[in-house]
């Protein structure tokens, strides 16, 4: 089998060559440098850096808050996607367009704006303060920022999936006497399950690496409100390149694991769709 199928169109050599060259120069070689830098550390030194109490504390916050944010987004993302797909109301198209805003808005802007809104005297913070809820400069604020920036990923994954739900099946279930909740659990949920899981994973992946919006609202206390990307930056600022690289490789490995999960989930979702069609 040859490398590519013959085609009358020209330009494969030029475009393929440029693509692989540029990709290697800008992305792959720099990433290889990261792996090599971490690999040049002595094994015990590497373990000491990535398992220091401060690093462990940062993983706990980064992964815990990201998982919580992704969960919030799956729940509210489902409600949002359902509302946008199923209901007609004034301003629906505007709301639909706004879903992408966190994606287009620079993270530093989201960060300072959220902090201002949820600070002690902010528009929303002032009502939470008397209830004893502190959002800004706590792990709650971190979760909130991560929820904001990863929200489009959950909603945009769920919308097409909800369109796939067959209304006649819902009708049939209800005609046969199923309650709303039963129809939801046995008809709607199975159809959108792959999308729910993919949306969770995409949101989680986006949230784990986030830096800009979090550092403003987090308070950045070691062990308490310090995320892993910030710890990497602190290592870099102290010219501890290898320590930073070691933490970077930990995050990179987790990113790859998440990517793999997404691909497996999407393959699973496609298989289910094919099965359902037969």
């Amino acid at each position: 089998m040859s490398f590519r199928k013959p085609s009358v169109l020209p330009g494969f050599g030029l475009t393929f060559g440029f693509t692989t060259f540029f990709l290697s120069a800008i992305v792959l070689l720099p990433l290889a440098a990261l792996v090599l830098a971490a690999g040049s550390m002595h094994w015990s030194e590497l373990v000491a850096v990535v398992s220091s109490p401060r690093a462990l504390g940062s993983y706990r916050l980064s992964f815990g808050a990201s998982a919580l944010a992704a969960t919030i987004n799956v729940v509210f993302g489902f409600v949002l996607a359902w509302t946008l797909v199923r209901y007609e109301f004034p301003g629906r198209k505007l709301i639909d367009a706004l879903i992408d805003l966190p994606f287009a808005l620079p993270t530093a802007v989201s960060g300072i704006a959220l902090t201002t809104v949820f600070a002690q005297h902010g528009w929303i913070g002032r009502y939470l303060e008397p209830l004893g809820i502190k959002v800004a400069y706590t792990w709650l604020g971190v979760t909130l920022a991560l929820t904001l920036i990863s929200m489009p990923f959950a909603v945009r994954t769920l919308q097409p999936a909800l369109l796939e739900v067959q209304r006649d099946l819902e009708d049939a279930a209800e005609t046969l006497g199923a309650t709303r909740f039963y129809t939801f659990r046995r008809v709607i949920l199975p159809t959108v399950l792959p999308a729910l899981l993919t949306g969770f994973t995409l949101a989680f992946a986006r949230a784990v690496g986030e830096y800009g919006s979090v550092i403003f609202i987090a308070g950045n206390l070691p062990m308490k409100t310090e995320i892993t990307p910030l710890l990497i930056v602190i290592h870099l600022e102290q010219f501890d390149y290898r320590g930073a690289a070691a933490l970077g490789v930990v995050m990179l490995l987790i990113s790859f694991a998440v990517l793999l999960t997404i691909n497996l989930l999407q393959a699973w979702g496609r298989r289910r769709q094919v099965q359902a069609a037969h």
Partner: protein, 294 residues
């Protein structure tokens, strides 16, 4: 594929098809409907609208004149200039890359194509801090080429080249991601006809392909531009935060904010928020043309 934003669909496709459904006009349905809409709107109002409104409320808190005066600060102007220069270099390069990648991937069948697509998406799955750090490891003072660069009096980290490299790394998938599905959907027939009839490769590209992908290309370029101008994490790592020299707009926002100059910080933020708004408008206009492939 990667941790990228799933492509939005044209808004029309989401319109609720609402024929009268038996048994659905009950009061429970009505309550459910308003509950869902209320929860959705509250969620978005707290998480999205309140922060965006705050940006403008704080920026204009001391009046429109103070808002305008905050742009007269030379450091702010330098940050705006640096951001524009960075985008002016990064966006065209990424556009050429995106066009080349889309042509190779969409027009030809070859082995390892899906691996190539995954690798192009890679920067979207990587923390921006890591995207900046890789260049510090290469070109920083204690990095691999650090000594050599210093001997030759060249600086990449804490200077413009580093900022451009980091921004390029972070934003480089966007044009390609827009174009690949679009060009795959459009197929090769028209290009093959043009070539068969004797048109050259460049002529085919400019006269046949480009007019058909121009809306998708436009959105890819606009999105790439918005992300390039707004990038914070990666640029923060390589920039060195030298006021008036290596501070881009997002980094300048951070400095002003940490100095409690809220009007100044939110004034700069308001420009980037407007840019995000323009990006969304273009996205919706492009989707309305129906040109997007997914």
């Amino acid at each position: 594929m990667a941790a990228a934003l799933p492509a939005g669909r044209p808004a029309d496709q989401f319109r609720a098809d609402a024929p009268a459904r038996p048994g659905h006009d009950t009061w429970i349905s009505a309550i459910m409907r308003w509950l869902f809409i209320a929860v959705s709107l509250t969620f978005l109002a707290a998480l999205l609208l309140a922060p965006v409104a705050t940006v403008f409320a704080v920026a204009l808190a001391r009046g429109f004149e103070t808002y305008l005066v905050s742009f007269a600060d030379p450091d702010t102007l330098a940050a705006i200039r640096l951001t524009l220069i960075t985008a002016a270099v990064v966006v065209p390069v990424n556009t050429v890359f995106g066009l080349a990648a889309a042509w190779a991937i969409a027009k030809f069948e070859f082995r390892g194509k899906s691996v190539l697509i995954t690798l192009i998406d890679l920067p979207l799955a990587i923390s921006p801090v890591i995207s900046g750090m890789v260049f510090v490891l290469l070109f920083g003072l204690h990095g691999w080429f650090g000594v050599w660069l210093e001997q030759h009096d060249l600086s990449i980290i804490f200077a413009l080249p580093g900022i451009i490299l980091a921004t390029m790394f972070v934003t480089f998938p966007y044009v390609a991601r827009e174009l690949i599905p679009l060009m795959q959907q459009l197929g090769n027939d028209e290009e093959e006809a043009a070539i068969t009839l004797g048109a050259g490769g460049w002529m085919t590209f400019f006269r046949v392909t480009l007019p058909r992908i121009r809306w998708g290309l436009l959105y890819g370029v606009i999105l790439s531009n918005a992300r390039a101008m707004g990038e914070f994490g990666a640029v923060s790592v390589v920039s060195g935060h030298i006021r008036g020299l290596t501070n881009t707009m997002p980094l300048h926002i951070e400095i002003l904010y940490n100095e409690y100059n809220f009007v100044g910080a939110f004034a700069v933020a308001s420009l980037l928020t407007l840019l995000a708004g323009v990006t969304l408008v273009v996205k919706n206009l492009v989707e309305r043309t129906g040109y997007r492939g997914h």
